[in-house]
Each structure stands twice: as C-alpha cells, then as structure tokens.
C-alpha cells in the first residue's frame, strides 16, 4: 500500500496546505473516487448464464468487471457508472440492464 501524501488535505484545509497547483501525489488513486454514485441504471450479473467468454470485461470503461483465474467476478459497483456496454456485448444474456425486475 502506497503512503498517501495527501491524507491531511480535505475540504476544510486552508490554502497553505494544498499541493502546488492541486498536484495529486501517489499513483493508482483513481479507485478512491466512488464513481458508482453517478449510476442511474445498474447492470446485474447472472452467473448461471455466463460461460466466462470475457467479452465484457475489456469493453468496460471503468474497469468495473474484475476477473480472477480467467473468470469474471461480480461487478464493482463502487465504480460502475452504469453505461451498459457490457450488457450490449454479452451474447448470452448473462448481464441484464435497465430491466425493472433485475434492478438493485
């Protein structure tokens, strides 16, 4: 785990504590932003229909389809913005999207 050099900076910090030009220290911190909050329509994974062909995960613009040992896992809802591209590319109906009964 990288050390967070900006731990002390928040919305109440005085300007003297800000980094120069708002520079962001540390890599891989985009996961800290919960873009899942922006989602209005939620995709739902149906593992019983999935053959793990993995057509879905590379088209996800937010890396919200985690994979392990050649198989996809359930959605990362902290970051999925609900664009629906994964549902559109799935050939097996293993991802439902915008269907009332499937919504969380």
């Amino acid at each position: 785990m990288k050390k967070n050099l900006m731990e002390h900076i928040g919305e109440k910090s005085p300007y003297q504590d800000m980094t120069p030009g708002g520079i962001v220290y540390g890599g891989g911190n985009s996961t800290d932003v919960r873009t899942g909050d922006w989602r209005t329509v939620t995709p739902v994974f149906h593992p019983e229909k999935c053959t793990h062909c993995l057509l879905c995960f590379p088209v996800c613009p937010d890396s919200s389809i985690p994979t392990q040992d050649g198989k996809r896992l359930d959605f990362d809802y902290d970051h999925c913005k609900g664009c629906g591209i994964c549902a559109a590319v799935c050939p097996l109906g293993a991802i439902s999207f915008g269907e009332k009964e499937a919504e969380q």
Binding site: E11, P14, Y15, P20, G21, G22, I23, G26
Partner: protein
C-alpha cells in the same frame, strides 16, 4: 565576456534559445514571430542545439505540447503572435494553474479585426489575467536579456509560474540593432539545469497534474497562484540583480528615465519607450521637466513602484497600445489609476491609446502628449482617455 553583434529582435531571441538549449520546443508559425522557431529549427539542423523540436498543427497544440513536456519534467518553450496567441488563450490558464514554468517568446501583433500584421499589445494584453508573468522588452537587447532571465524566474520554487517575454512585432523583431551577447558557457551556468520537485516521469514519486478542482478546492488553488505571482516580484528583482552582476545590464520591474525631478511623465510599454526617451531629452533641453516610466513587468503589476515613481509629478500620461473597449481606456490606464488611487495620489492622469495596428508613434507625438500634460498641470481638465495619432 560580452560579444558585440548586430541582430534583429527575433534573431536575438533565437540566439538566447540556442544558448538555453531547452529540452522541448513546440511551435507553429505566425507573423511576426515565425522567424524564432525557424532559426531554432535551423540551429537544430546544424547540430547546434539538442532540443526536441515538435512541429504541431496549431498554437493550441503548441502550448499543450509545452504543458505536457514541462509536466513530464523538462524545459519547454514556444513562440507566437496575435491570432496564434489568442488560440493559446485557454491553455495559458491551464499552464499557469498547473504551475508549469513554461517560457514563451511573444512578438506582439494586433489582433484581428480588421486583419493586421503589425504591432500593438492587444494580443498579450488579452491574456493579462491568465496567470502568466509578462516581461516586456524595449529593444532586441532587452528581449535577449529577458529570455535569459525568464527560466530562473519561472522555475524559482517561490514562483513556479510561466513567463512570457514580449517584444514589439517588426519594430524590434525585424529591426537589426547592435547587441551584446553573452558567452554560451556563461549563459549555461547562469540559466542552470531544471530539476523540478515533482514531474510525471518519476516512478519513485508518482504524481498527476491538472486535477478536477471542485468548488471546495478551486478557490484555495487560485489563492496559492496569486500569492506566487506576488512573490515573483522579489524573484524578478533578485534574478535581475544577479544578471546585472554578470553582464553589467541591470533591470527592475520598472525603469525610471529622468524621473527624479520630473513634473510631467509618461508611462509606456515596449519599443515606444525609446522614442519617448528621445522626446524627454529634447524637452529637457528646452527646460521642460519631462520624464518617462517604462513598464518591464506588467505581471506581476508593480503598482506600488509606479505610484512611488509618480508621487511628485504634476500630470501623467498613461500610454496603452491596446484599447480595452471599456469606454474608459486601456488596461495599463486602468491599472495605473488603481495604483494611484490606492496610494491616495491625486495627480491628473490621462490614458492615451496609441500605436494600434502598427500606427507609428514619433517623437512629435510625444511632444504633443507632453504638451497636453503641461496644459493639465496648469489646470486643464484631464479626459479619461484620448486617442493619439488618429485622423479626426
């Protein structure tokens, strides 16, 4: 040891760039600054500098490439004029707010319309609030000297802001003058190497530039930026002092010419100062206590210094080579008046709009201006602003 040469303003700036040997230059040609990247690419072809020269498709791309290069961790420079400068406008703010000390040569040319390739200051004055430092040059020598000082000022940890070095299109950019050039080695030692604290190509300390600044952060970052601009005044003075020690040519935020006992004063920017000084000398010979104040640094704005220099004058003419179209005159007029008000000065002041689109300003025009100032010192009403050199 300085070496005497004869160079145009563009050649002088190109000579400075060759000596600085920046890591990246990204530029797009536009009159009258075209010669600067042209000469630089020639130096590159001759193997006389190691700069990566990036030919881009627009000035917006030129300044964007400079921003990227500077953020990556190297020195980046560009040059432009007029419409090309205006096309950079959006990115000028980005470079400044990301605290990237890019240095840019600006060869001032009027903005369209009507379309015009000649000199005034409407281009750089249009971006005076972009967060860049602005140094203006009276002649080729000053353009060269300002370029050699610009990186030291921009890259100071106290500043970390971009600098534009401006000179007047054609009037100085294309006129060949006597000039003193410093030795390559002396310049390299003076300018030094660029070692930024944070840069993108540093895996040991990963960073991201240009974050989204929500309202909870945006204003704090602007406050940081404006404090850096305030601090830059002292840095300009210190770097200029060191440059003076090396070359014998000393600079400040403003230049006062025969101001010690002046009763009538004009303030101007750029090449007109040379013409104005000739008029001052002539008028002094006639017993008129004339003086001239030249702005070298318009950003940071040396308001206190200007007010102090004008403390004892009886009338002042503030000369703008750009109309602000406020109905109240130009940018220098507005800011000098604000500085005088803050200093509780009540000197009669008139803002002269002159030299637009390359309209020549002659010694006779300065006689006319000093004549009007004399009338105001004697009680004639000072208008808010007045056009000089226009047919009416």
């Amino acid at each position: 040891m300085s070496k005497r040469d004869r160079l145009s303003g563009n050649e002088a700036v190109a000579a400075a760039i060759r000596q600085i040997d920046p890591d990246v230059i990204a530029a797009f040609p536009i009159t009258p600054s075209t010669e600067i990247p042209q000469y630089v690419s020639q130096f590159k072809a001759e193997g006389r500098l190691s700069t990566e020269f990036v030919t881009v498709e627009s000035e917006h791309s030129a300044i964007s490439a400079c921003a990227g290069a500077q953020a990556a961790g190297v020195r980046a420079m560009t040059a432009t004029s007029s419409a090309g400068f205006a096309l950079m406008h959006e990115m000028l703010y980005v470079v400044a707010s990301d605290r990237l000390p890019v240095v840019m040569a600006v060869v001032n040319r009027a903005l369209t319309g009507p379309i015009n390739i000649n000199n005034d200051h409407s281009d750089s004055m249009g971006s005076r609030d972009s967060g860049w430092l602005q140094l203006y040059s009276e002649n080729a020598q000053e353009a060269y000297d300002n370029m050699l000082m610009a990186h030291r000022i921009a890259e100071s940890p106290e500043v970390m802001l971009p600098v534009m070095v401006c000179q007047d299109g054609f009037i100085t950019s294309h006129a060949v003058e006597n000039i003193l050039l410093e030795d390559d080695e002396a310049v390299k030692a003076f300018v030094g190497e660029y070692h930024p604290k944070d840069y993108l190509l540093n895996p040991a300390r990963p960073v991201a530039f240009g974050p989204y600044g929500i309202s909870a952060y945006y204003m704090e970052l602007k406050k940081q930026q404006t404090e850096a601009m305030e601090r830059s005044a002292a840095v300009i003075r210190e770097v200029s002092r060191q440059y003076g020690h090396m070359t014998g040519r000393y600079y400040d935020l403003i230049e006062e010419y025969r101001m010690e006992d002046a009763q009538l004063a004009v303030i101007c920017i750029g090449s007109s100062a040379g013409t104005g000084k000739a008029a001052v000398d002539e008028l002094r010979g006639q017993g008129i206590q004339a003086g001239l104040l030249k702005i070298r640094a318009f950003r940071p704005f040396p308001g206190r210094e200007i007010a102090a220099a004008l403390a004892r004058v009886k009338a002042v003419g503030i000369m703008d080579k750009a109309d602000g179209f406020s109905g109240s005159g130009g940018p220098l007029g507005a800011e000098v008046r604000a500085a005088l008000y803050q200093a509780k000065a009540s000197v009669p002041a008139v803002n002269f709009i002159y030299g637009l689109g390359g309209r020549d300003v002659r010694v006779d025009d300065f006689y006319n201006i000093f004549g009007q100032l004399g009338d105001m010192a004697d009680g004639a009403e000072a208008p808010m602003y007045r056009y000089i050199g226009v047919r009416e």
